[in-house]
Structure formats: structure tokens, C-alpha cells
């Protein structure tokens, strides 16, 4: 087993250390940090924009770069949170509280350094966790039949709705709508073109990038413009970056706890960076001396920043082993794999070990690069923050449009993305979170396929989902999860948690 791990990591290093992959990894983390620093543009839109570009790359380089964008953004987000009191990334919301206070006390340097060091530690641990736990999980998943897969997807979707913001019923409705949108296009079993209204452009279905770009890219810009430009940038010169020994001693426990929480929550469906950082901060506020929280407590920076990085990375586990995305960014990664002709699922590890292990090792290398890169470059990031949004959003729009247009070189896709932009705006105004919709959209065709196969095998007997042991357990977990969330006590705390 241990020998296997070393052997596998050896394969991974061989792939990840090729000059080409190192370059894409570097480019990914650099771009990730950049968009992490800039508020108003996140990893989602960036990955969606770059997806068409990755067509031309070898699969492993494409995945290494896209992964780098995601975890790089977690690093970058903290910089903005600490220096400007605005989360550069949603997962850094909580870092603002104590990080900004530290900056006001002239301790921005140590806060940034601890955030970077904590993130690096968390990233390294999470990489190791993926390497250790992904293979056994994939082995279990190889035994899955259609019934098990269907139940697993139900569990994944339920998890995503439970962890979505706001109303549970609306989240379920959004998931259903996503599943339905995913069915648009030619049905693979019967060859019938469904919901295409005779439009040839829709016969392959609605492109995933089109929906993601409309709901996240365009809608985000529209909302930012509607809110108006309220960003105030005032940055003092950062004197000393190095934290003192006391800082390191104070924060080391928080880093370890944050890493642990993030690693666990990242694996959960619907989990990932955002949830992890909130949970870690909440825990930290309950441990030890809490008098300083909200007034520049270094633990309040260390814990959430470690947690969001760990969570960002372990959320790759269900994606890589089961082929099931646990959050929207992972859904995009699956989209990227499918574009490259790789069917996501447990067979990836056995059939393409170089891809699997190369990606994992590259994450560690990427974290190392980030750790080294981030601190000297802070000055440049700070300058970038002074770029006003009115210059930023036309540039983002251009990237989005070129990305969408180059999917098929037809104006139709751009029109469709614009329509989804309206829909995205309406969703947010009606307090319907779009994330469950995207997950449903990705899983829709897969779910239908597995449902059909399972029902065919059982000759139309729907009880098979409960009588097969693994499938039954998965469905049971989904039901329990739903019931627990609906219980009045949990419902109240959930409402409070998302209000904060």
C-alpha cells in the first residue's frame, strides 16, 4: 500500500514536473491569484472563460491549469479581504472580520503571511489526503451499478440543496429545473430531439459553458453595475511581512483545526471552500481565549484561510473518484474533462493514472508556487486593486463573449448566453441560488441514463433502489439529510448561519 502510494506519486511527479505542465500550473495559480484578488470576478467565470482555450491543450495540462485557478483564487481572496475589507472571493468573507482589523493596526504583513503559510500547510495536507483516500474510494465506486449511481447522484443533489443559501424548497426547485435543462437536446436512447423547438443549434443540448457564463458571468456584472461602484481602496504601505514567533505559535493550532475542518467539509456534496471557512471560524470562536475576536485576532485569519484552501482541494475527491461534482467549480472541471473526451468516474484512476496522479502532484507544486509567489507579489496585487470596476467589466465581457462564441463560431450561443444572463439576474432577485441548478444540469443526463438502466435491469421494479444495500444506504442518507434539515431546530440555526 505504502509502496503503491510512493510509486503513484512518482508517476505524478513525472507528469507534473514536465516543463510544459509546470508552466500551465504556474499560469493557472498566477491567474487564480489575480482573479482572487479582484472582487467581482471569481474562479467560476474565469474557468468558464478559459474552457474553450483548453480544447487545444493536452487533457492533463488543461486540468492542471484549471485546478490551479480554483485553489489559487483562495489564496488571492485573502489578500483583498485583509487589505480592503472586501472579500476578493466569497470564501474569504469571514477573513475580512479579523484580517482587516489586523491591517488597521498596522499588522497587514503578518496577517497576509499567516494566511499564506496556513493555506500552504492546508494545501499540502489536503493533497496527501486526496492521494491516500481517493484510490480506495474509486475501488468501491468501480463496483457501483446503475442503481447505486442513481442513488449517489440523488444524495449529491440533496447535499447541494441542503447546503445552498436561503430557502430549501427553492433550492430543490432549482435542482429540478437544472435537471430538466440538462435534458434539452437529442435523447441518446431513442434519438428523439427533446425541447429543441426544431432549432438545429440545440440538438446537442445547451452548452454547459453557455449556462455558466450567463448565470454567473453576465448576471454578476449586471448586479455589480446595479449596486454601483462602492469600492474604496485605501492601502497603507506594508512595513514588515514576517510574523513574529508569537504569531506563529498563536495561529498554529488554528491552522491545524482549520485544515481538518476544511478537508472534511470539502468532500461533502455542496461543500467546498466557502462552507469550510465559515465552519472553521465558528469553531475557533468557541475555543480558548476569545476576547480578541473581531478586534484583529490572528487565529480568525489563520483558521478560515487554511480551511478554505483545504476544502477547495478535497472537493476534488468526489469529482475524481466518482465523477460527481460536489460544487459548481467541480462541475466545470467535469465539463472540461468531457470536452477532452474523458468520461469522469472511477475508471479514470486505473485507465489514466498519469492524468490522475499528475493532477494531484501538480496541486502540491502549485501550492508551493503560491506560497513562494504570493508574498513578494503583494505589492503588485495591491496596485491592481486600484483598477476601477468600470474598466474591469468591459474586459471581462470581452473574454466571456469570445469564450462563448468560440464554442461553435455561431452567434446563436452568444444569444443564448445573454438570455441566461437575464435568467441569472431574475434568479438572484428572487433569492434562488443558481449553484444547485448547475449541478442538476450536469447530472441530468447521467441520472436519466442510470435510472433507465436500473429500471430496465429490475424490469420496472422501483424498489430496487432501496433493496440493493449500497443504493439503499445512499438513498437513506439523502432522506435523513433532508428530514434533518427540515426539522425546526436545525432550520432555525441554518437560517441564522446563512444570515451572518
Amino acid at each position: 500500500m505504502e509502496f503503491d502510494l510512493i510509486h503513484n506519486l512518482g508517476i505524478g511527479f513525472g507528469v507534473a514536473l514536465s516543463w510544459q505542465n509546470l508552466m500551465y500550473c504556474f499560469f493557472g495559480v498566477l491567474l487564480g491569484t489575480l482573479i482572487g484578488v479582484l472582487p467581482g470576478i471569481g474562479p467560476l467565470a474565469t474557468i468558464a472563460m478559459l474552457l474553450p482555450v483548453t480544447f487545444t491543450l493536452p487533457p492533463i495540462s488543461a486540468l492542471i491549469m484549471l485546478a490551479g485557478i480554483y485553489y489559487g483564487a483562495q489564496y488571492g481572496g485573502s489578500t483583498t479581504a485583509i487589505l480592503v475589507n472586501i472579500p476578493g472571493e466569497s470564501s474569504s468573507v469571514i477573513t475580512c472580520i479579523d484580517g482587516y482589523q489586523m491591517a488597521r493596526q498596522g499588522r497587514a504583513g503578518p496577517a497576509l503571511a499567516i494566511a499564506a503559510l496556513g493555506s500552504f500547510f492546508a494545501g499540502s495536507v489536503a493533497t496527501l489526503i486526496i492521494a491516500l483516500f481517493a484510490p480506495p474510494l474509486a475501488e468501491v465506486a468501480l463496483k457501483f451499478g446503475p442503481a447505486e449511481y442513481f442513488s449517489l447522484m440523488v444524495l449529491g443533489l440533496v447535499g447541494a440543496t441542503v447546503l445552498a443559501h436561503g430557502s430549501l424548497v427553492k433550492a430543490i426547485a432549482m435542482t429540478l429545473l437544472g435537471l430538466l435543462l440538462g435534458l434539452i437536446g437529442t435523447d441518446v436512447n431513442s434519438g428523439v430531439a427533446r425541447f429543441t423547438f426544431g432549432l438545429a443549434e440545440l440538438s446537442d443540448g445547451v452548452g454547459f459553458i453557455i449556462i455558466a457564463m450567463g448565470l454567473f458571468g453576465f448576471a454578476e456584472i449586471i448586479l455589480n453595475l446595479e449596486r454601483g461602484e462602492g469600492r474604496e481602496v485605501f492601502v497603507k504601505k506594508i512595513m514588515n511581512i514576517m510574523p513574529t514567533w508569537k504569531d506563529i505559535k498563536d495561529s498554529s493550532g488554528a491552522v491545524v483545526r482549520g485544515t481538518a475542518i476544511g478537508s472534511v467539509l470539502g468532500i461533502l456534496p455542496g461543500g467546498g471552500a466557502l462552507l469550510s471557512s465559515f465552519a472553521a471560524y465558528t469553531l475557533e470562536k468557541k475555543i480558548g481565549d476569545t476576547s480578541n475576536f473581531g478586534k484583529g485576532e490572528i487565529r480568525g485569519v489563520a483558521a478560515p484561510e487554511s480551511a478554505n484552501n483545504a476544502g477547495a482541494q478535497t472537493s476534488f475527491i468526489p469529482m475524481l473518484t466518482l465523477g460527481i461534482p460536489s460544487n459548481v467549480v467541480m462541475a466545470l472541471m467535469i465539463g472540461a474533462m468531457m470536452i477532452q473526451g474523458i468520461a469522469p468516474g472511477p475508471q479514470v484512476m486505473t485507465e489514466k493514472p498519469d492524468l490522475f496522479w499528475g493532477l494531484i502532484v501538480s496541486m502540491w507544486i502549485g501550492n508551493l508556487m503560491l506560497g513562494i509567489l504570493n508574498l513578494p507579489l503583494i505589492g503588485i496585487w495591491v496596485k491592481l486593486l486600484t483598477v476601477p470596476y468600470r474598466l474591469l467589466y468591459p474586459s471581462i465581457l470581452l473574454f466571456c463573449c469570445v469564450g462563448v462564441y468560440s464554442l461553435s463560431n455561431q452567434p446563436f450561443d452568444v444569444m443564448l448566453a445573454a438570455l441566461f444572463g437575464i435568467l441569472g439576474y431574475v434568479f438572484i432577485k428572487l433569492e434562488c441560488e443558481p449553484a444547485p441548478l448547475i449541478l442538476g444540469f450536469i447530472l441530468g443526463p447521467l441520472m436519466e441514463e442510470n435510472l433507465r438502466r436500473a429500471m430496465l435491469l429490475s424490469r420496472g421494479d422501483a424498489t430496487v433502489f432501496f433493496t440493493k444495500p449500497i443504493s439503499g444506504v445512499l438513498l437513506g442518507m439523502a432522506i435523513v439529510l433532508l428530514l434533518v434539515t427540515l426539522a425546526p431546530a436545525v432550520r432555525k440555526t441554518r437560517e441564522v448561519a446563512f444570515q451572518e
Binding site: D187, I222, P411
Partner: protein, 195 residues
Amino acid sequence: MQIRNGRDFWAGLMFTGFGLGFMLVSLNYPMGSAARMGPAYFPAVLGGLLALLGGGIVLRGYISKFEHPLKVFAFRLPLLIAALVVGGATYFASASLKGAPMVGFALTGLALTLFIGAFGPRSMFLVLVAVMVFGYALKPLGLVLATVLLIVISAFGGHDFRKKEVAILTIALVLFGVLVFVKALGLPFNLWPGG
């Protein structure tokens, strides 16, 4: 009874509409049986569930703890009706418009513009129209002019429009687009009209 939460009310209506729409359209396809599901089976079930949930959310709008006015965002019914009329006419006349593709093109564009204008704030209209113009203009006018149109129209959607800044930004982005998208990444866009 009074609607207490406008957000729930409209969201519920929206979900019911989508659910019923998907369900009704899917009834055109073979249903099959539980053991051999036809293309209509899964979407019909999902659509039905969505419509039911939507109905529930509408009801919740009447008894919700949270209050929110009925007017959630700007909505212009005349524009929506106009968009649907023009769009519907174009769709059903598409066979007879085959001889005049530019007319169909223009009518589709008009319908979409009206549709976008029916919802939301001014900034949304300008941003999405800019996107649409870019999509339509890229092939006939080339990347350079399409980019200029995209940047200038979308810049009007912001709060303050500074001519000099927009000019510099446009030049920079045109240069960037030509160098990166066409020269470096090799995307098959023509730079100028007709070539």
C-alpha cells in the same frame, strides 16, 4: 388574501411555468413504461414535480414570515408582449423567410432586444445588448469593429462614462484581442469586414 413575500410569489410562478412547460412539451414524445422509459418519462415526472413545488412556493408567498414587496425588479409588460409577438412571428414564418435571411436575422435581433429590455435595470439592457451585438457582428464586421461595439455599448451601462478612458480601454482591448485571441491562440476570427 395578501401576498406577503413577492419574491416567493414570483419564484413560485416561474417554477410552475417552467415545470408545466417542460411537462407539456415532453408529452409530444413517447412515454414508454417504467421498465423501458421513453424520452418523455423522466422529464414529464420532473416537470410535474417542479410545477407542484412551484405551486407550494406561490402559496408560501402568502404566509411567509419574511415580507418583501411584490415589485422585485423592473418589469415592462408591453415590451415583453412585443418581444413575444415579433419572436413568435419570426419563428413561425422562418420557412417563408428562407429566401431573405437578413430579414429573419433582423427580426430575431429585434425580438431579443425587446425581450432583454422587458426586464431589469438599464445596465442590464446595455450589457446584454452589447453582448448580442458582438455575437452578431463578429463574423460580418470582424473582431476589431465587434470589440469596439462591445466595449463602447457596455461602457454606457456603467455609472459614469468617461470618453477618454473608454477610448484608451477600447484600443487596449482591441490590441489585446487581436494579439492573444487571433495571433497567439489561433481562434478563427477575421479581423476586418469581409476578410
